[in-house]
């Protein structure tokens, strides 16, 4: 199975570096949030001191002192190191690493659920190992980090620390570093065990096809070609005499693939632009593809011994500089398992190639998506890719650690645990929340959707404009604004999931990893700074 489902119209974006304007957007966002934070702090101080002038003076003073402390943070590196070592030691001495043995238990039973097909095997195993690591390490880290600072405050051990020349920011940063040290260690051990386990469990046929990390070149939208309604897309369909965004709709609900009809002039066009020098020293370049076969006749056209009756495809490679067809090949399409076409490297000499696919078999359809056909530029090791996958888990843990440390500056231990898990869970529903507040998800706000639920009202018609419903809609508007704020503050954790790459045998793009790292760093820096200001301005004794 060569395909990885990438539900995007432009898969090559996964491999593109972040836009240069990104840091400026980040700075702008942080500045706006800082203004809100300052206003909030001012309001709280005002309520406490009952004097606007004094509140302003105190808040500005706290802000400046805080900024100085942030800027001079590196000067305290030896103290940060001591605090990090303390957290590390605490985790070790409290024998938290024993959880690691819990991690081993499910491995004994995983074999029971192993799928029969060799294609499914590695996918299952990778998902299993990744899941075992995430589901043990993430709750462990949330529990550990959430309880740490509140325990110090509750048991007053914090007294002997803050009465030393330690800045409060150093306490937070030291803690984060210490915990990340221990989590990194545990992650590496778990990853190592997981990898040995994967090697041992997967059989030879699986290792041959899946124990790899493919580096694909995906189609990109060309500058000079558009569809009839002027869309620039990496994959376009030729139908009824013009290029279109979609092919024939065969009635499948999953709109990922679009179909072309056999034995007609319909065709699918991928546009490739790439640096041709990477293929200079190669004889041929594998082009891997996975098409969906949609039959309108009975029987399995791809069954063994049915070569004549199979679904056939014609693939043509056109050099877009000269307009000549540089290579073509007719082949029988394998459903699901995919095909490989070896194309002479010289066909790609111009670095600007159009690949045209046509279905040759009457009454059958071929379905395809932008990511279904790619040039295989390189293959890297599975182990390296697995490690990259662990980096993503590590980033997720870093994010949750920072959220938990910040929350624990003003919440009690158990509340911090609940809060952090809430962030974690909502993080996976980020798209859904954005969908609700932007109105893309039907059903309205919490009250409206409850009314619809109880009155068994459908989601499409407007609510009966009676008195109660109007009040409910008014309240919903308010609640949706709150949700909007929340939706944009909660991190989108679906971004931090790269297990699918490893499981499908695709190299995790460095660009994706970089973007994930930037996303997490960009998220945790303001979060920790917020926590620092709270921690600095709270009383640690009662």
């Amino acid at each position: 199975m060569f395909a990885m489902v990438i539900e995007t119209t432009n898969p090559s974006l996964l491999y593109s570096m972040p836009h240069w304007s990104l840091p400026f957007w980040w700075i702008g966002t942080v500045l706006i949030l800082s203004v809100f934070g300052f206003a909030g702090a001012l309001l709280l101080t005002w309520l406490k001191t009952h004097s606007a002038a004094r509140a302003f003076q105190l808040t500005v003073k706290a802000l400046f002192e805080g900024l100085i402390e942030i800027v001079t943070l590196p000067a305290g590196c030896s103290r940060i190191f001591a605090l990090a070592k303390l957290s590390f030691r605490e985790a070790i001495r409290r024998r938290i690493l024993y959880v690691f043995f819990l991690f081993l238990i499910p491995f004994l039973f995983a074999g029971w659920y192993l799928p029969n097909s060799p294609e499914g095997q590695l996918r299952f195993l990778v998902a299993f190992v990744n899941g075992a690591i995430s589901w043990l390490l993430i709750p462990l880290s949330v529990f550990l980090v959430s309880m740490s600072l509140p325990t110090d405050i509750q048991q007053h051990t914090i007294y002997t620390v803050v009465t030393k020349p330690v800045r409060r920011l150093e306490i937070l940063v030291g803690r984060i570093l210490g915990f990340m040290g221990i989590f990194t260690l545990v992650l590496l051990i778990m990853g190592g065990v997981g990898l040995i386990y994967l090697r041992g469990q997967s059989d030879a046929t699986v290792r041959q096809s899946q124990w790899t990390a493919r580096v694909p070149i995906y189609a990109t939208a060309p500058e000079d070609v558009t569809t009839a309604n002027e869309l620039k897309l990496p994959l376009m369909f030729y139908k009824k005499g013009q290029l279109q965004a979609q092919g024939t709709n065969v009635g499948k609900e999953w709109a990922y693939r679009s179909h072309i009809e056999g034995a007609t002039s319909d065709s699918a066009h991928w546009f490739f632009q790439f640096d041709p020098s990477q293929f200079q020293n190669r004889e041929e370049v594998p082009v891997e593809l996975t098409f969906d076969i949609f039959k309108t006749t009975k029987g399995d056209p791809t069954r063994p011994g049915a070569e004549e009756s199979g679904v056939w495809c014609l693939l043509r490679f056109v050099d877009r500089k000269t307009g000549e067809t540089v290579f073509d090949r007719t082949f029988r399409v394998n459903n699901n398992r995919g095909n490989v076409v070896y194309v002479p490297a010289k066909a790609f000499a111009s670095g600007n190639v159009e690949v045209i696919a046509q279905c040759l078999t009457r009454n059958q359809f071929l379905g395809m998506a932008p990511a279904d056909l790619y040039l295989l530029a390189d293959e890297r090791t599975f182990e390296g890719n697995f490690l990259k996958g662990l980096v993503t888990i590590w980033l997720k843990i870093l994010l949750l650690t920072c959220v938990a440390v910040t929350a624990s500056t003003f919440l009690k231990g158990f509340v911090t645990i609940l809060f952090t898990f809430m962030v974690y869970i909502l993080g996976f529903f980020h798209d859904f929340m954005i969908g609700i507040v932007t109105g893309q998800v039907r059903g309205g706000g919490p009250l409206e959707s409850s009314i619809r639920l109880f009155t068994q009202n459908n989601q499409v018609t407007d609510l009966d404009p009676n008195f109660f419903n109007r009040i409910a809609l008014g309240v919903d508007m308010l609640l949706l604004e709150l949700m909007r704020a929340l939706a944009y503050i909660i991190p989108n954790l679906t971004l931090l999931d790269t297990a699918e790459f490893v499981a499908s045998g695709f190299d995790i793009p460095w660009a994706l990893l970089l973007r994930n790292a930037l996303f997490v760093i960009g998220y945790v820096v303001p979060v920790v700074i917020f926590g620092y200001f709270v921690f600095k301005n709270r009383e640690l004794a009662a």
């Binding site: 309520l47 190191f81 001495r93 002997t160 009465t163 330690v166």
Partner: protein, 307 residues
Amino acid sequence: MTTDAVIETRNLTKVYRDFWGRKKVDALKSLNLTVQRGEIFGLLGPNGSGKTTSIKLLLGLLFPSNGEALVLGKPASDVAKNERIGYLPEESYLYRFLNAEETLDFYGRLFDISGKERRKRIDSLIQQVGLNRARKRVLKEYSKGMTRRIGVAQALINDPELILLDEPTSGLDPLGTREMKDLIRSLRDEGKTVVLCSHLLADVQDVCDRIAILHQGELKELGRVSDLLSIQDMTEIKVGGLSDEAKEEIRQVVARHNGNLVSMGHPSTTLEDLFLKIIRESEAHPGRRYLPEREGEQPTEPPVSSN
């Protein structure tokens, strides 16, 4: 106020409030105090009188509701002052999973003390507090007295100028108490300033140069221990080398006044008596500064107005 003041509080006030900002308790009311360099200063008071609150305010663990506290010339909220301060909390709040060496090493690192110097100080402090045999044992195995000792050692790791001790002798046996008192005196002899708070009056009486007595968050008495404990309306005469005639004469004089003469001078009360007297007086007249029934004596500080 002289420039040699190590601690200076001006109208230092702490009000504890609940979540809604309603007043729960006035923990400390307008405290004005000055502690001079090189003295042993004792803060006395019954439980809940504001001793520990005062110490926490001085350390920046609490923020004042009003007024201010200067420690070593810096505001109490300034972290930099901690470089020259040693603090022994009420109970030794230390990390129980560390051993003695690791504990001192951890706190030493927080002061940015170089590795060589750190090892030297750790060694000498462990010797000084007598934990040499237990230096590799984790703190959770320590007895209360041992925990107290390691607590003292961590308070001294930075060779501080000002040492704040919260109940230094609690949990110590008589021998340990004696050692602690000797240690406090030797710290003063090294030129350090010691502020301690305690309700163990005998200890305070032994070591303190000056004391302040707090009750219900108010300062009730402040002065030198020797002055506070002398009884002005009583006379004690102790005489040697008198002839029998002279003795007879004195005896007659005393007998005429129905006295029984042993020695001559101002006898001392115990601090316990003074303390109880002040507390009873304070409870009878809340909010009033204790005024000693002495003639020609003025309190060293102006009385604090009640609010």
